[in-house]
């Protein structure tokens, strides 16, 4: 009987959490930054976007280089090393760019967002905003939300671009693939709508999910050091799992049915 009660209570809590998370999402979506808040948003874009650039560029470079190296050793045995360019570009634009960027973004920016908001809650800064008749949703959450949603797709594009350059570095400069075929075959194979736009859409969806989870976890954390650390961990874990799961769904929708 007790188990049944617990199950019921757990389910209700879960549904309530989804409800309040959705309310928060809609709140943040409709609290589109006014021009007064634009400055706040630009500042947040600097924090979550620009400050993530280094990790994104370094990771993109190495992933591109590794892919070129792996791809070359396989392709060269079929004499198809000319296809190295499209291989690198397509895998980056369609999959690795959005997914790896989102995973890094969750670890780098998502966790920071959760910790920041959680600490603001623990030190009563959010309460004091409310008592000053300033809506924390508008002042604190919404600028961070939109900054994340704008920054992530740009980061994903930068990641892919740097990765392609990294592939060039290894494939062309080091292993001796013809530079002309690297670029020209890539150009003729990569489709704007099919590959680039779909990749950006993926990045946009991942961004939405990561920022949503990060802000929700921070805003509803238990305001103790333990609670904040738990919330930060949960942000990274839930975001990563959701990204990977959603990636499959999105890939199936975009490329699976033809």
């Amino acid at each position: 009987m007790q188990k049944l009660i617990n199950l019921g209570r757990g389910t209700l809590d879960y549904i309530a959490a989804i409800g309040s998370a959705s309310m928060m999402l809609f709140g943040a979506l409709f609290a589109f930054p006014t021009w007064k808040n634009t400055r706040l948003m630009v500042h947040q874009m600097y924090v979550v976007g620009v400050q993530s650039l280094l990790i994104i560029i370094v990771s993109g470079l190495f992933i591109g280089m590794v892919m070129a190296l792996q791809g070359y050793t396989i392709l060269v045995s079929y004499g198809a090393e000319g296809s190295l360019g499209p291989m690198v570009a397509l895998s980056l634009l369609r999959e690795l760019g959005p997914v790896v960027t989102a995973l890094l973004f969750a670890g780098r920016a998502g966790s920071a967002l959760t910790a920041e908001i959680g600490l603001m809650k623990a030190t009563e800064q959010l309460s004091s905003l409310e008592m000053m008749a300033v809506d924390p949703l508008r002042r604190v959450l919404s600028p961070r939300f939109w900054a994340g949603v704008y920054s992530m797709p740009m980061l994903a594009l930068i990641f892919s671009a740097v990765g392609i350059l990294g592939g060039h570095l290894v494939g062309v400069d080091w292993l001796g693939v013809d530079s002309g075929s690297y670029w020209s075959i890539m150009q003729s194979t990569v489709e704007w709508n099919e590959d680039v736009v779909n990749g950006v859409i993926k990045a946009l969806v991942f961004a939405l999910v990561v920022v949503w989870i990060a802000l929700y976890k921070g805003y509803h954390c238990i305001p103790t050091s333990e609670g904040i650390s738990k919330a930060t961990t949960e942000t990274v874990v839930y975001s990563s799992l959701t990204i990977l799961g959603l990636d499959f769904v999105l890939t199936a929708l975009m490329f699976g049915i033809s």
Binding site: T123, E124, Q125, S127, S128, E130, M131, M132, A133, V134, D135, R139
Partner: protein, 265 residues
């Protein structure tokens, strides 16, 4: 009876299974300093949050200047909150802004004053709490007492009608305590404020309060002017005022008999 600014009527509030307030009523007179005292952990801060509309009671009502804080729309509630202000125990200064920007924050959010006027107001408010020289420090560079005074400057920036102090004296050295006591009193008079002070520092608050409520065991166990309180014949009130370890408020958290706990049976 003078006009009251806050009226709590037959309020009942509980957190989960735990009852915090069982049917309490109190009145805060306009222009007065009302003290709410009681042992730690009985939810004095909760009472302030109920008055500020951050929490809602299970039943009963809280009126602020005649409007029921929990019945009005969100928009109206935010309007009410511009006329009340709260000094948090930790100060709750925004850690990413200087003292100046912290005090300027409510002005920039709620008024369309230009920066020159804002600067004048901020300097005046900081002068009132004796921190004009600290305007460009970050909150992390302030001592606890200074942080609380800076937060006080921020709380009075918009000239509210009501200011609620949450444990303003907790963890202060005797000098900062004295400073805060006289600040609360002088600000209340100079700015024509109404103050609610929640605290358990008996002597300090009895020296400045006009009216005192003592909370314990989910109820108001005593009320009156400081003199009436001192002469109260209630055991509970006397235990609290004199700081006796045991009495109607038990020293021991409810537990089974020690003998039984140690040797079993």
């Amino acid at each position: 009876m003078a006009e009251s600014i806050v009226t709590v009527d037959k309020m009942h509030f509980s957190r989960g299974e735990r009852v915090i307030y069982d049917d309490i009523s109190l009145n805060v007179r306009k222009g007065a300093i009302t003290a709410i005292m009681g042992p730690s952990g009985i939810g004095k801060t909760t009472l302030l949050k109920l008055i500020g509309g951050q929490l809602a009671p299970d039943s009963g009502s809280v009126l602020f200047q005649g409007s029921n804080v929990h019945k009005v729309s969100r928009h109206k509630l935010y309007e009410l909150r511009r006329r009340m202000s709260m000094l948090f125990q930790s100060g709750a200064l925004f850690t990413n802004m200087t003292v100046f920007d912290n005090v300027a924050f409510p002005l920039r959010e709620h008024t369309h004053l230009n920066e020159d006027i804002i600067r004048t107001i901020v300097y005046l408010k900081l002068e009132a709490v004796g921190l004009r020289g600290a305007y460009d420090l970050m909150p992390s560079e302030l001592s606890g007492g200074m942080a609380r005074r800076a937060a006080l400057a921020r709380a009075i920036a918009l000239d509210p009608d009501l200011i609620m102090y949450d444990e303003p004296f907790a963890g202060q050295d005797p000098i900062s305590m004295g400073v805060l006591v006289s600040l609360i009193k002088s600000l209340n008079k100079a700015l024509n404020l109404t103050s609610i002070v929640v605290t358990h520092d008996v002597t300090e608050v009895l020296s400045i309060a006009d009216y005192v409520y003592i909370l314990a065991n989910k109820k108001i166990i005593g009320e009156g002017t400081p003199n009436e309180i001192r002469q109260s014949d209630s055991d509970l009130v006397q235990q609290f005022l004199e700081g006796k370890a045991d009495g109607p408020v038990p020293f021991h958290y409810p537990a089974q008999d020690l003998r039984t706990a140690l040797i079993g049976e």
